[in-house]
């Protein structure tokens, strides 16, 4: 049993994280596919922003927040025999926020007041890390339904991979902030729209804010927050529950990275942070690595030989009675080219291997997935990644 298989067998939630462009989404989808085949049960992959081809391969096009089952026929066509069920869902940020508001607003009227506010759209689409929070919130909600044996989620691309870990706490902070109360107080006391009662403390703030933003805009903001604040209790309780789930023993994190300096540095920092914050760091996936044969001394020797003695070797090959090798000049050029290309790639492979050996703070399970010749855009690709993810 491979390390990753054991990990997936004992956990209910696996969060895939890492910097952008490292292949998080494919790795998460592949792990979910592998789990459904090897372990069985009902497995969901919740993905944030899949590439078009991957989304359509999973049958996810235009389905919004709804989970769909990946049809067993397509899995069989890709040569895998699922023991369980593989389900997939995408995150629709706007829809998820709307659902959240509808759930927590004190009544329907308030909910629609919020949903119609012109600031609301801006806020939910642009609010600092709103993606982060809503992704974790959806994860919690799906987990709470008890419908799946395993949920694999890939995280939104953030500037810092750690941001989303703090999102629930930040959200709770935001709503319980004394500052927010203080800001909306003049309007709460003033009662109806257009009146506000300023205290001695808040007066200088409003004088400046009026000058910068105009009082009408400020009033819009206040009204919006007043309504939003009515969701306070539900919201705070909820974000605490989300945080509890992330810390739960049944949840584990898998960090995905390539062996390039920048993403790897970010991954290391992330592993360290996860450990420091007492999250469960389950596995590290080194993705898109170059194959080991690029490191072989024999390969290096042969490459040098081919470059240095391309002429004589080409002349020898010309005697083989193969029309494609009849022109020694051309053959020599090709031999030099492949020798040179090998040396180029082997420098990169050496760098990767050096970076790999310097890794600190790593989890017990480390999976290595080589650069695959084609892009991962279909189930065959996911199956291929899975072969490496689940290798012993």
């Amino acid at each position: 049993v491979s390390g990753l298989e054991q990990l997936l067998a004992t956990k209910e939630v696996v969060v895939f994280c890492g910097s952008g462009g490292v292949g998080k989404t494919s790795a998460a989808a592949s792990a979910a596919l592998g789990a459904s085949c090897r372990l069985g049960g009902k497995v969901l992959v919740l993905t944030i922003d899949p590439a078009k081809r991957l989304a359509s391969a999973l049958g996810l096009e235009g389905i919004g927040n709804r989970a769909v089952q990946v049809r067993p026929e397509i899995l069989k066509a890709a040569g895998v025999e699922p023991r369980g069920e593989l389900w997939a869902a995408m995150l629709d940020t706007k829809q998820s926020w709307d659902d959240l508001v509808l759930r927590h607003a004190k009544d329907e009227e308030t909910a629609y007041k919020i949903l119609d506010n012109r600031l609301y759209h801006n806020l939910t689409s642009r609010f600092v890390q709103s993606h982060d929070y809503i992704a974790m919130e959806r994860l919690y909600e799906i987990h709470a339904t008890g419908e799946y044996d395993l949920i694999v989620i890939d995280t939104p691309p953030t500037r810092n991979a750690i941001d989303f870990l703090e999102a629930p706490a930040r959200m709770a902070d935001f709503f319980s902030s004394r500052l927010l109360r203080w800001l909306t107080l003049p309007y709460r006391v003033g009662g109806k729209r257009g009146t506000r009662v300023l205290s001695v403390a808040s007066k200088p703030f409003y004088q400046i804010a009026d000058r910068i933003l105009g009082s009408a805009f400020l009033e819009d903001i206040a009204e919006f927050f007043l309504n939003f604040q009515s969701m306070y209790d539900g919201f705070v309780a909820r974000s605490k529950a989300v945080e509890r789930l992330l810390h739960d023993r049944r949840t584990t994190f898998t960090v995905v990275t390539t062996l390039e300096a920048a993403p790897l540095h970010e991954a290391e920092r992330f592993c360290k942070e996860l450990i420091a914050r007492k999250f469960h760091l389950g596995a590290l996936v080194l993705n898109k690595t170059l194959p080991d044969y690029l490191l072989s001394p024999e390969g290096a020797a042969a490459a040098t030989e081919l470059v240095d003695h391309a002429g004589p070797i080409a002349a020898e090959l010309a005697s083989l009675d193969n029309p494609a090798l009849a022109d020694p000049a051309r053959t020599a050029r090709v031999l030099r080219t492949i020798g040179d290309s090998y040396r180029n790639f082997s420098v990169v492979a050496l760098r990767e291997s050096e970076l790999r050996s310097e890794l600190a703070h790593t989890p017990d399970v480390i999976a290595r997935v080589p650069t695959l010749e084609a892009d991962i855009g279909d189930l065959d690709g996911l199956v291929e990644i899975g072969r490496w993810l689940f290798a012993d």
Binding site: G20, L180, P204, L213, A301, E305, L306, L317, R330, A374
Partner: protein, 322 residues
């Protein structure tokens, strides 16, 4: 080389955006280095302050105040809080807020909660520096921005317009006017998108170019394709290579160059396959985007630091015909 490419360095304000991980900071740094080589003084603005920009010049992270990190290249890290304080001090004559504790916190709170405020503080500071340089009050004559990634850049570029939609009166509304004049002038500003010839970066580039066109009035510059793998063979060479992989030919090679010949052949096959999938994405990009494309080769030797910044600047200079 098209005219559009050649005058890239003649603009005063260059944004470099793109999907995370494509080498946007490297390309921004290399552009600044190249501009400095041809005698310009450049302010490099790092929007997502991660310290990446100074690292491209082997220097320690910088703060909000511009600092020369290389001859002819100054750098600063964007900080919206300090940008707000500077704005208040310069425009509204509000004293430094540091001492007014709660007031500063309240403003910062509104800045992070109200839509578009952080964006306008970022774009406002950048345009401010551009205007200072136009009016001869700055220590540089060009601003290069290592901008936000594809997910955020449209909100930033569109912030002045967005604010005008939300705020009906007040100095903020008035202030957005000159910002737009700078941002929307093709003689001053160009947004460049950095990508790699891979599926997701190309898809995001195509979508981003579309969005910048429809959602903002900011002029686009070029698309810079980073890490392009070399084409190993011509069609005729490819046949020869195919012959080398045949068993008895391969056996001959092994006798002559050792058992590692197989690894060399495998390596070449991988290189050809990688180049081929990437070529398809490039084709897709060329078909979907009508902007000038510039190509930067994959660098096998190093992957970051001043050495790479120099190499990329050389390549960029060649693409620009300098």
């Amino acid at each position: 080389v098209s005219a559009q490419q050649a005058d890239l360095l003649d603009r005063r304000l260059l944004f470099f955006t793109g999907k995370g991980g494509v080498g946007k900071s490297t390309v921004a740094a290399a552009t600044a280095l190249l501009a400095a080589r041809v005698g310009r003084r450049v302010l490099l603005v790092e929007v997502d302050a991660k310290g990446d920009i100074p690292a491209q010049f082997e220097r320690a992270p910088v703060g909000f105040a511009p600092k020369e990190i290389h001859p002819g290249v100054l750098a600063m890290a964007m900080d919206t809080e300090q940008s707000l304080q500077e704005y208040l001090r310069l425009n509204l004559r509000v004293p430094v807020l540091g001492r007014v504790g709660p007031l500063a916190r309240a403003l910062d709170f509104v800045a992070s909660a109200a839509p578009g405020v952080k964006e306008i503080l970022t774009i406002g500071k950048i345009c401010w520096e551009v205007r200072e340089s136009i009016e001869g009050r700055a220590d540089f004559d060009m601003v290069v921005v290592d901008a936000a990634a594809t997910g955020h850049i449209v909100a930033q570029l569109g912030a002045p317009e967005g604010i005008r939609d939300l705020v009906d009166v007040g100095p903020v509304r008035a202030q957005t006017q000159w910002l737009s004049e700078i941002l929307e002038d093709p003689a001053i500003t160009a947004v460049n998108v950095v990508t790699t010839p891979e599926e997701m970066p190309v898809a995001e580039t195509i979508e981003l170019v579309q969005r910048i066109r429809t959602e903002t009035s900011v002029p686009l510059g070029s698309v810079i394709v980073n890490r392009v793998l070399p084409e190993l063979f011509t069609t005729a060479d490819e046949e020869t290579f195919a012959a080398l992989t045949e068993p008895h030919v391969n056996e001959r090679l092994r006798q002559r160059a050792g058992s590692g010949s197989t690894a060399v052949i495998d390596g070449a096959r991988l290189a050809v396959a990688l180049r081929r999938t990437r070529a398809q994405h490039l084709e897709e990009l060329r078909n979907a985007v009508d902007l000038p494309l510039m190509y930067l080769p994959y660098l096998f030797v190093r992957d970051h630091g001043l050495r790479v910044t120099r190499m990329v600047a050389d390549e960029l200079g060649e693409e620009l015909g300098l």
